[in-house]
């Protein structure tokens, strides 16, 4: 029973924080709420007996990526969103954008319903727990070798692109 209680507490925290991310006018608070949401997710992973995933979540998302987010938000120097710009002429207020957003939200709702109620989806859990780091590494480098390598090549391409964009015209690397 206490485990269920903790689960609902953490789930409420994660959902609440995620809702606050888009509900904030101040981007700094949005970033903080996103960190809180990641923290709650990590706690949920621990409850699922996957401490490695939880710690990886903290290190990569809460520790590294969100620091970069903060960096960018601080450099933008935009503590308050300018309300004057947010009128009918704003590109995000055009009818096409609104329709597209509504469509995507509907699609997400349908997908979630299908994923949660579809046949034989939630039953597969409870098999052999893949909690040990050794096991995660072995599976990653044998069964999912191709996906792993494809991802790393994708990241490499993104890195090269960033270097190319950051380099000034005519400058030697």
């Amino acid at each position: 029973m206490p485990e269920t209680l903790v689960f609902y507490l953490l789930a409420a925290l994660a959902i609440g924080a995620s809702a606050m991310v888009i509900g904030q006018r101040n981007p700094m608070y949005s970033v903080m709420m996103l960190i809180a949401s990641f923290g709650a997710l990590a706690a949920l992973y621990i409850q699922l007996d996957a401490p490695f995933v939880a710690v990886a979540q903290i290190i990569i998302y809460a520790g590294a990526i969100m620091v970069l987010f903060l960096f960018v938000v601080m450099l933008l120097n935009a503590p308050q969103e300018d309300r004057a710009e947010w009128d009918r002429s704003h590109p995000l207020r055009q009818p096409g954008v609104t329709r597209f957003g509504t469509l995507m939200a509907l699609l997400l709702v349908i997908e979630l319903t299908w994923a949660l109620t579809g046949p034989g989806r939630a039953v597969e859990s409870g098999a052999a727990p893949v909690s040990s780091v050794r096991e995660v590494g072995r599976v990653l480098f044998t069964d999912y070798m191709f996906a792993f390598e494809a991802t790393s090549i994708l990241i490499l391409v993104a890195m090269l692109g960033a270097v190319l964009l950051a380099r000034r015209e005519g400058e030697q690397p």
């Binding site: 401490p51 490695f52 710690v55 903290i58 809460a62 520790g63 601080m74 780091v133």
Partner: protein, 341 residues
């Protein structure tokens, strides 16, 4: 509550108490050692040989008026020092500081000296220390001051560049030990080679140890890498606008982080509580001695080496430290594979 639970709680309380005291003692040690290095006595008035100086410092800081600059973000300004000090304390949670002990036969089963023994302990320490930078970044942003903002920006950039080398150095040790639990890493370092060299990983990983130490200095924002608060350029950096208790929490977090860094270095590279002459029950004496030596080196470096320039720090981190750590990791991996096959 049975005796065992009580002793576990006692160990947790003791660890907390040691960390709080470590920050006070380190302030005194720093001022004393700095004094001797500069041919002065250092603090000498409060108590015998100035030994009660930390107490006077704390009382002074508590009595000061708390100020919050106009235009500062109320919530984040208050939250920032709390995040800093919480992350500093929490990082020590998975660091073991002594062998198993029965307290001279008091208990039937031995208990472990340390707060928690987690099977991903190394990663937990790494994850929680990396959260500490939010305190500094938010303090810089929320203060509504240009000096603070630059301090915060520098802290985040510095953290990103040094964390990579730091994590890669950790990975080499983890590969040697074959475990992510700090207690198992320590236990794999017991015994001696050729009868006299202790089986410490510092002898197998000298480059890794140097990288870890340098990255550790950068992580704790100590000189020569104290750019977030470089006083000649930024007044006091991220904590310019802070006063009273809120200000006191930042140095406290820094000193606790130093203690954690040294304790983790001892566990990973210097054999933890293993050492000659003393029985395993008293291993914590070895542990404290080793941590003390590393802390002394920290203070020694701070008052010996002048501060780098900021761009030098970034290029040093990305172009020298990180490649060196990666090569070290690859060589270690190849050797581990060769000797284990």
């Amino acid at each position: 509550m049975d005796l065992r639970t009580a002793i576990q709680l006692g160990i947790i309380g003791l660890t907390f108490f040691m960390l709080i005291n470590a920050s006070a003692l380190l302030v005194l040690a720093e001022r004393k050692i700095m004094g001797f290095m500069q041919q002065r006595y250092g603090p000498y008035r409060v108590g015998p040989h100035g030994m009660l100086q930390p107490l006077a410092d704390i009382i002074k800081l508590l009595m000061k008026e708390e100020l919050r600059p106009k235009g500062a973000d109320k919530w984040l300004f208050t939250l920032a020092p709390i995040i800093s000090v919480t992350a500093a304390f929490a990082a020590f949670a998975t660091v073991p500081w002594g062998a198993q002990t029965t307290f001279f036969g008091l208990l039937d089963e031995p208990v472990k000296l340390g707060v928690a023994d987690v099977n991903v302990g190394v990663l937990v320490v790494f994850a929680v220390t990396s959260m500490g930078v939010y305190g500094i970044v938010l303090a810089g942003w929320a203060s509504n001051s240009k000096y603070s903002l630059f301090g915060g920006l520098r802290a985040s950039a510095q953290m990103i560049s040094y964390e990579l080398a730091y994590a890669t150095a950790l990975a080499s040790v983890v590969m040697l030990a074959g475990s992510l639990s700090l207690r198992e890493v320590v236990d794999s370092q017991s015994g001696v080679w050729f009868g006299f060299i202790p089986r410490w990983y510092v002898f197998l990983q000298p480059i890794g140890f140097i990288i870890y130490t340098i990255a550790g200095v950068a992580e704790t924002n100590r000189a020569p890498f104290d750019f977030p608060e470089a006083e000649q350029e930024l007044v006091a950096g991220y904590n310019t606008e802070y006063s009273s208790v809120r200000f006191a929490l930042f140095p406290q977090a820094e000193y606790i982080n130093m203690a954690t860094m040294s304790a983790v270095a001892t566990d990973l590279y210097l054999g933890g509580w293993h050492g000659p002459w003393l029985p395993p029950e008293y291993g914590w004496i070895w542990f404290l001695a080793k941590v003390g030596v590393i802390l002394f080196v920290y203070i020694w470096v701070r008052w010996t080496v002048p501060r780098y320039r900021y761009d030098q720090l970034m290029s040093f981190g990305w172009k020298i430290l990180f490649p060196a750590a990666v090569i070290n990791l690859l060589v270690t991996a190849a050797l581990v594979l060769y000797f284990n096959a």
